[in-house]
Symmetry: none
Subunit: 199 residues, 4 copies
DNA sequence: CGGTAAACGAGACGGTACGTCGTGTCTTTGA
DNA sequence: TCAAAGACACGACGTACCGTCTCGTTTACCG
């Protein structure tokens, strides 16, 4: 029936997928050394063997490329927790977050939070891809903990998420105190007091 | 013996105090409109009727000026809480913080957190003047609350501070949820469960 | 053997004649406003509703299109003189040239002279179509004047042509003095002294 | 009396005279090879060991630098004629012009005429420095010729100048015929018929 | 009171990056 | 084969800030 299934068949010469990949790779490398300020369109283009206008064809400015590179990277995509008791899973997941924050890559996360302050598009991307993913995963584990009876269910789950992630980001960004697994354990202990198992 | 106790008596023409003030004023204005990226040494110098080298004579770079301007400003120096029950004081103080964060000036706070990511000096200044002040005030109130018997005393006070301020900054920076007084109240309710009054 | 006698029967889809016309029309319009620098392949393609490669299929670069557009236009193709005495015809024709040079379109002529400096092909086209035509017409009139006894015949006709057109173009290009009919009349008067009628 | 004779004492750091010289030198070299299109701000800056903004601090764009470089160069500043009979001087001077036009440097002159078509400032500079100088010198010689009785004095001197220079530039720009000393001689012969010595 | 030293305005300067425009070529799809 | 659309490398554009510097001028203090 429908002669043309694909909803938006592109006209003209298709984009070379290697171009995009090369740009992101270059941005990732520049982000690793030098941090966000090292991610310039000039530098990306040089490193990727691509012309400057080509970079602009894909992204509106350097931080946008950096953000996407970050989100693609290992730091951006935190690994999912394994399978165990819900609270054990939660602990494992937050340990992973804490480890990532404490590692050099944590500076990238902080840089991205910083970058997301100036541009709406960046903020949205960061929120949707990085923040939301972490919260979604944790939210699901919390729900499981309630079903398992390890946590009480009457509290607002969003508040609980803020109580977990807030302090972690707070320490990451302010640097007033270290981010280690003991800190995570104390956060979870506090959480259990806020939402104690019924009975 | 030593006729001159003051350790570094300045020689030559003394600095005109108006210069410094004019620079900070200009920086504050630029910060208000345009945010941090609008605070350039060029712009400051123009606006303050001062030459560029003069700005550099006082501060090493533009963000430093911005930071000092911010810390001098009303947003940077949050008002002290009044006198009442300790928990009431805490609530009042955090309400003030939440109000400031929710107001347009909150963007300046976020910008400063962002700026503090790239430079150690800025980070230190921000931590010492803005973060530390808020924590000190809140820490004192918490101690008072323990003395008054409104909160239990066995928990780590630093963790409690992180549980209060962490979520506030987290929402400020991520923007995933509003910062209002209800949110503050729920934070304090959670705090009372984490550190319940003994007996 | 040879199934096809006609020397170059085109294969495949024939060129749409409207394409070529649309391109020239667009170039003419761009030339009118903005002058030669406004005639870009990008602009032409946009305006003509044609893709850039299509433009390049017809002409090697933007100035070539501009040149052809110019030569097609009214300014490029100066109207022929009427029929009267040879000297009257000459005067009429040069008046037309002077009028064209003094009008806004004269800038186009100057632009074409300028453009013809950088590229041989353009120079040739301009010389063959614009310069040569004008000289041919004038040369013919001069010959008639000699036959009519209005001018002497011993001088080099090419020199006479240079003495007529040289000053006109000189003023057009340098702009140091106006180009009006009085100037033309004085040129012709000078010409009559250079090649006085015999006897 | 006048405490301050120098009319406009410059404030701020004075310009390093070597900077300006280096830029002009670079432009001259680029103009020699490659012609006008080779004179880019990028190229000048590279070659002069100067930053791009510095070039823009002195001139508004590349052609302006090229024009000034041209006017400074040997081609731009044609040598003055010697001392002899006025007509001999005129012949000598025009021979020099013809030689310069016929030499490779003549292309530079043509390029400058072309460049002067698009920008008013360039046109003015070219007219005032190159065209006017040549005309002034020739005008003076013509006046001397009249005083000497070699030419008649009743004609418009400006027309005579146009009759001399017009054909020279015309041939330079159109390239329809060579520019040699014989051509100059025939121009001067024509001139003597246009303005014959009285009696 | 006159010398000295610093503050200060002005602006030059090299440098890096920006975002844009135009060029000419190439690749793909479709007529 | 033509044509439309668009990707792409290249090169140049003109601008914005940066941080440093070199001047000349002004203003305080101090011997």
């Amino acid at each position: 029936m429908n002669r043309q299934a694909s909803p938006a068949r592109p006209r003209g010469r298709p984009r070379d997928p290697r171009t995009r990949a090369a740009i992101l790779k270059a941005a990732r490398e520049l982000l690793a050394r030098g941090g966000l300020t090292a991610v310039t369109v000039d530098g990306i283009a040089d490193r990727a063997g691509v012309s400057r206008p080509t970079v602009y064809r894909y992204w509106p400015n350097a931080p946008s490329v950096a953000m996407e590179a970050f989100l693609d990277s290992a730091v951006g995509a935190l690994p999912p927790a394994g399978r165990g008791g819900a609270l054990a899973d939660l602990r494992a997941r937050l340990h992973a977050v804490a480890d990532a924050f404490a590692a050099p890559g944590g500076r990238s996360v902080a840089a991205m939070v910083a970058a997301a302050q100036s541009e709406t598009e960046l903020a949205k991307a960061f929120r949707n891809h990085f923040i939301a993913r972490n919260r979604d995963a944790a939210r699901e584990i919390l729900a499981r903990a309630v079903r398992e009876g390890a946590l009480g269910g009457e509290g607002d789950p969003e508040l609980l998420l803020d109580l977990l992630f807030g302090p972690l980001f707070y320490r990451l960004l302010m640097g007033h105190a270290p981010i280690d697994r003991g800190f995570v354990d104390r956060l979870i202990a506090a959480l259990r007091r806020v939402a104690p198992a019924a009975g």
